[in-house]
Subunit: 253 residues, 2 copies
C-alpha cells in the first residue's frame, strides 16, 4: 500500500513551494495536479507519471469522486502518490473529501502545507494583510451560494473583518461587489485584484468596491484574487492598467 | 546599499520554509530573527551574523523602532540582509512598519511569504479550514483591544465567519472565550489548541469554547494557536491530554 501526500503547490512560482513539497515532488511515483499548477512546478517531478485532474472553477462532485477513486487506485499501485493542489491544500481545496475517501479505503494520507494565494499576493504587493490601527483581522471567503440561501449570505462573513480576501472570485466580481456593499461597505472602499500572483505574468489592478466589476473585465484568464480593505488605499491613484514593480514599491512605502 | 528580505520562517519545521526562503538564508550576510524561530531554521544560515530581535508578545513600539533602526544600519553595511519572521511576514508581523522605515531610508525591500501557523496546524491535524456544507469562510484575528474600545470589539470580526483562528492567543484564552461567546457563539462550539505546530513538541488539545480557558492551562510555553468552528467537532471525545498521530488520523477520517 502506498501513501498519498496532499501537497500545496503555493501561489505559482516554483521556488515558493516548501522544501518538503519540493522533496516529495522529486520522490513521487505519480503526480495528480490541478489545471492551475505552473509548468515549472511540474518540472520538479520529471520521474513521475503526471495526471492532470483539471478542475478549475466547476468542481462538480462527480469530478471529485472520480479524483478520489484515482487517488485510491494509485495508492494501491504506487508507493509515493502526490496530490498537488494550488496554494495550500487545506483552504478551498476540498481536501477533506479526499482525506475521508482515502482513510475509508485504509490508505495513509499526509498533508503538506503551501503558500496560499493571499500570502503570495501580499508579499508581491509589499502590503501586509494586517496593519496597526488599520487592520487586525482578515477573512478568507468565496462567494458560493448554497441551495435555499439568501443571495448574499456568503458576505455575512465579511461584515466585521478589516481585510477581506476572496478566492475563486475573478468571474464573480459583480456579485462580490453587490454582496459586500449589501453588508454596508461603502462603494469607495479600496480593493485590489491580483492575477497570477508571484508568476511572470503577475498583474496588480487597484480599484474600489464600486468599480470592481469594471476593473475585473481587464483580467486575463489566470488565477486571480480580490482583496478589499482600507490597507489598499495607498494603491489608488497609481498607474492605471496595473502597477509595475517600481510603482508598487512607491505605493507600499 | 544592501537589500532587505522580509522572509517568512513558516510554522516551525525547517523543511516548511519555502525553497526561496531557504536559498536566501544560505546567502544572508546578517540574519535578524524573532525569538520564536526554531534552531534548525537558523542553522540554514551558518555563514550569517545572527541577531535575535526577541519580540515575543510584548511588541512595544520602541522595540519596533529599534528593530527598524538595526535593519537600516545593516543594509548600509551588508549586501544581503534577511529579516526572518515566524509564519508569514504579512500576517500579524508588523511588516508594514519595517517596510515603511526601510523605504523612507531608500533601502530596497522584498517580502518572501511563509507558511502561516494556521496552515501548518491544519496540515498537521489533517483537517481543512474549509469544508463543504460546514465552513466556507475563515477569519484570522488577534484579541487586541485598542485604546477607548469596548473590551470585546475585536470579536466582531468573528461574528459571521465559519472558522475562527486566533493568533498570539494562548495567554488570553479567558478573554477569547468571553469575547466569542459575547457574539452569540455557543459554549459548546468545538475548538482546538495547537502548540508547536509542525515541530517535534507539537500538542493538539481539542476542547469547546466554554472549556477553552481550562484547556489552555495545559499548554506549555510554545507558540500556540486557537481554532474554533464546527469543523473541529470530530476531535472532541478523543483522548484527553492531547491527541497523538494515530488518534488524529482516526478523528480526521
Amino acid at each position: 500500500m502506498g501513501k498519498v501526500y496532499l501537497v500545496g503547490a503555493g501561489p505559482g512560482a516554483a521556488d515558493l513551494l516548501t522544501v518538503r513539497a519540493a522533496r516529495l515532488l522529486g520522490q513521487a511515483d505519480v503526480l495528480f495536479h490541478d489545471a492551475l499548477v505552473d509548468d515549472e512546478v511540474l518540472a520538479l517531478a520529471p520521474q513521475a507519471r503526471h495526471v492532470a485532474v483539471g478542475k478549475r472553477c466547476g468542481q462538480l462532485s462527480t469530478v471529485q469522486q472520480f479524483i478520489n477513486r484515482q487517488l485510491i487506485d494509485a495508492a494501491r499501485r504506487y508507493s509515493c502518490v502526490v496530490r498537488l493542489k494550488g496554494g495550500d491544500p487545506m483552504l478551498f481545496g476540498r481536501a477533506q473529501e479526499e482525506i475521508a475517501a482515502l482513510a475509508d479505503a485504509g490508505i495513509e494520507v499526509e498533508a503538506v502545507p503551501g503558500i496560499s494565494a493571499a500570502f503570495g499576493a501580499s508579499s508581491a504587493l509589499g502590503l501586509s494583510l494586517t496593519r496597526r490601527g488599520l487592520s487586525r483581522s482578515v477573512v478568507f471567503l468565496t462567494p458560493a451560494v448554497g441551495s435555499g440561501e439568501r443571495p448574499h449570505a456568503w458576505a455575512d462573513a465579511a461584515r466585521g473583518a478589516d481585510t477581506v480576501v476572496l478566492y475563486m472570485a475573478s468571474r464573480q466580481a459583480e456579485v462580490i461587489a453587490q454582496g459586500l456593499m449589501a453588508t454596508g461597505m461603502p462603494p469607495g472602499r479600496p480593493a485590489v485584484l491580483v492575477e497570477n500572483a508571484s508568476l511572470p505574468g503577475q498583474r496588480v489592478l487597484p480599484t474600489t468596491l464600486g468599480q470592481l466589476p469594471d476593473t475585473a473585465r481587464e483580467l486575463g484568464g489566470g488565477p486571480a484574487l480580490i482583496m478589499v480593505g482600507d490597507i489598499y488605499a495607498g494603491l489608488l491613484g497609481q498607474a492605471a492598467g496595473g502597477l509595475d514593480e517600481e510603482s508598487l514599491r512607491t505605493a507600499a512605502a
